[in-house]
């Protein structure tokens, strides 16, 4: 009897993982069918499987607009969620997100810098990526001033550097042209996949490298969340793994933010949705966060580009549909394992 229960539990677990593994692909596939340019289901199938029989417009809409956009949304969602989960573990703090250590504000300043001084365009991606990485490096250095990089000093370094870049962003907004540059900056901060095409896929390389670094270190994230002293006593090379995990999360977040703009909420809350489903073991949490983040972001982007005739910024929708969903899950699981002890 016990044995049978155990087998059923195992089977249930496996099917849950399979479901989450295919979920992002289902979301991407579905996104090909939805959008303002009207296409019937049959037309989309024709475009996908008989591309020679369709008009050039139809072909472009599905293959060059909807598909790259959905893939990018999935990658960005996964990158932000995985980085958020990794930061939460390493910093031993369930309230931090992928934007801590100054990545978001650094990237934001880089974007402003390009929009105002370099005329925007492609350069925006590179400056925002560069300043995001710079901001984290500065936060790391600021944390070191204290002596050795303890977790608290590193978080403080992140807070200070974030504030600095936030001030720099304000200066940029202050000097920006209020009719052309200021709206561009504002929209950048709300996040969007509207301009994504295949040329942006270069960003998947640093994003992928960052996520792989976190993925291979995911058991060590558990151990690091016990604190430096215990992690060392348990045999983990704390310096090396902090560098790998924080470096990986920075790479992933910076390259995500530089193509999509800042998208809040996901990096904080998706890991918690993951925790409610599989528990806190990062061995499972990191992959599940990637899958949930990817699927969630694709769905958000579908809504962003189809709910009204003009596009809504994704950053708005993540919070609007994410929050009630999160509260529902919290109620359902009663956040049962958390205590304030």
């Amino acid at each position: 009897m016990m044995k049978k229960v155990a087998i059923n539990k195992r089977a249930l677990q496996i099917s849950l993982y399979v479901l989450f593994a295919v979920l992002p692909f289902i979301a991407i596939f579905v996104s090909l069918f939805i959008g303002n340019y009207h296409l019937t289901g049959k037309e989309v199938f024709d475009i996908l499987f008989h591309p020679n029989d369709v008009t050039i417009n139809q072909y472009v809409v599905v293959w060059h607009l909807r598909l790259p956009r959905a893939i990018a949304a999935a990658m960005v969602g996964a990158a932000l969620s995985v980085s958020g989960a990794a930061y939460q573990g390493v910093f031993r703090n369930p309230l931090v997100n992928s934007g801590m250590l100054g990545v978001s504000n650094g990237a934001g300043f880089g974007a402003c810098f390009a929009i105002i001084l370099l005329g925007g365009g492609v350069l925006t991606y590179f400056t925002s990526f560069a300043f995001a990485v710079l901001a984290v490096t500065l936060a790391w250095l600021a944390g070191r001033v204290y002596g050795h990089t303890t977790t608290t000093s590193l978080i403080l370094g992140g807070v200070v550097i974030s504030a600095l870049f936030s001030a720099l962003i304000s200066i940029m907004k202050f000097v920006a042209d209020p009719y052309s540059q200021l709206p561009a900056i504002t929209f950048w901060f709300m996040g969007s996949f509207a301009s994504i095409n295949y040329t942006h896929f270069w960003a998947f390389i640093p994003m992928g490298v960052g996520m792989i670094l976190i993925f291979i270190s995911r058991w060590q994230i558990n151990v690091l969340s016990m604190g430096d002293r215990e992690a060392k006593a348990l045999g983990v090379n704390v310096k090396l793994f902090k560098l790998l995990i924080i470096g990986g999360a920075t790479l992933a977040t910076a390259s995500a933010v530089c193509i999509s703009g800042t998208i809040g909420w996901v990096g904080l809350v998706v890991p918690h949705i993951g925790r409610m489903i599989v528990g806190n073991n990062n061995k499972k949490l990191i992959p599940i966060s990637a899958a949930i983040g990817a699927s969630f972001m694709v769905i958000v982007d579908i809504i962003a580009r189809s709910v009204t005739t003009s596009e809504l910024p994704v950053g708005i929708i993540t919070a609007i549909i994410g929050t009630p969903f999160f509260i529902y899950l919290l109620k359902k699981t009663k956040g049962k394992q958390w205590n304030d002890g």
Binding site: Q88, G89, R92, N93, P94, I216, S217, R218, W219, Q220, N222, V223, S225, M226, G227, R229, E230, K232, A233, L234, G235, V236, N237, V238, R275, G279, N280, N281, K283, K336, Q337, W338, N339, G341
Partner: protein, 274 residues
């Protein structure tokens, strides 16, 4: 040469200008419990950190199972020494089994996670400390005594010769304290592990002595080992006054079986200062 698992010779350590350990030497043979006692700030924790390789050694030497600690990597030290921490503030409610499996990390290679075998060893360790039924419970729901047993199981799963405990029974009620001490004694007797316990309670040393466990008390004063030996010989009225700066009496009673039992009875703080 005796079978000393820990061999410390003329160890010095200082934080900045403050000298914490001075010419400290200590040898601990296999299968022994050493109760490390001393005032707050006497250097106990610094010594423990040095043995675990957390403090870089500038002068002196620590040899663990024949190897200099300086030459060992973090991972190799973790295969020799397990650690049961004092305060344990976990932010994420991992399951008990997950916590215990973390004790296996040193055996998982640089990257990688627990294998089937690590899970089996974790369950076995939980069984040894008698809380296997808690395996799937969230750690955050356990009581203080249960948490200490989980940490002890984690240390056992780490399969080391040496276990270091930092005030393991602080915050425990009497029964849980006793459960924990019984478990420690059992481990040392059955598995010939060497246990170093930093404790504030002389009763711990007396307790182990009563059980006829192989135990020594080491009194630390101003970064040196002031005295080391059998608890009933080392923990005396004089040494307590010298090391802890308090007046106390050691009361000896005879049990029904004619065994001498010692208890510490505190009198008052010593005010005279040289």
């Amino acid at each position: 040469m005796m079978d000393n698992v820990i061999e410390i010779s003329s160890l010095y350590f200082s934080y900045g200008n403050k000298e914490v350990l001075k010419n400290l030497s200590l040898s601990i043979p296999r299968g022994k419990i050493v109760c490390l006692m001393g005032q707050n700030g006497s250097g106990k924790t610094t010594l423990i950190d040095a043995i675990m390789g957390l403090n870089p050694i500038k002068q002196g030497n620590i040899i663990i199972n024949g190897k200099e600690i300086k030459t060992l990597k973090t991972m190799d030290i973790a295969k020799q020494i397990a650690y049961v921490p004092q305060l344990h503030n976990i932010r994420f409610p991992y399951t008990v089994k997950e916590i215990v499996m973390m004790g296996r990390t040193a055996y998982m290679g640089l990257f990688g996670g627990p294998k089937k075998k690590d899970e089996e060893i974790a369950m076995e360790s939980l069984e040894r400390v008698g809380i296997v039924e808690y395996a799937d419970r969230p750690y955050s729901q356990l009581s203080g005594g249960e948490i200490k047993l989980v940490l002890l199981a984690r240390a056992l799963g780490q399969s080391t010769d040496i276990i270091i405990m930092d005030e393991p029974t602080a915050h425990l009620d009497l029964k849980n304290e006793l459960i924990f001490l019984e478990m420690v004694s059992k481990i040392v007797v059955e598995e010939q592990k060497t246990v170093l316990i930093a404790t504030h309670s002389p009763e711990h040393a007396f307790y182990f002595e009563r059980l006829q466990t192989n135990v020594e008390a080491a009194l630390v004063k101003d970064g040196e080992i002031y005295k080391i030996g059998a608890p009933s010989e080392v923990i005396t009225k004089e040494s307590i006054k010298e090391v802890f700066d308090v007046d106390a009496d050691i009361i000896t009673t005879l049990t029904e079986d004619g065994i001498e039992e010692k208890t510490l009875c505190l009198r008052k703080t010593t005010n005279e200062k040289e």
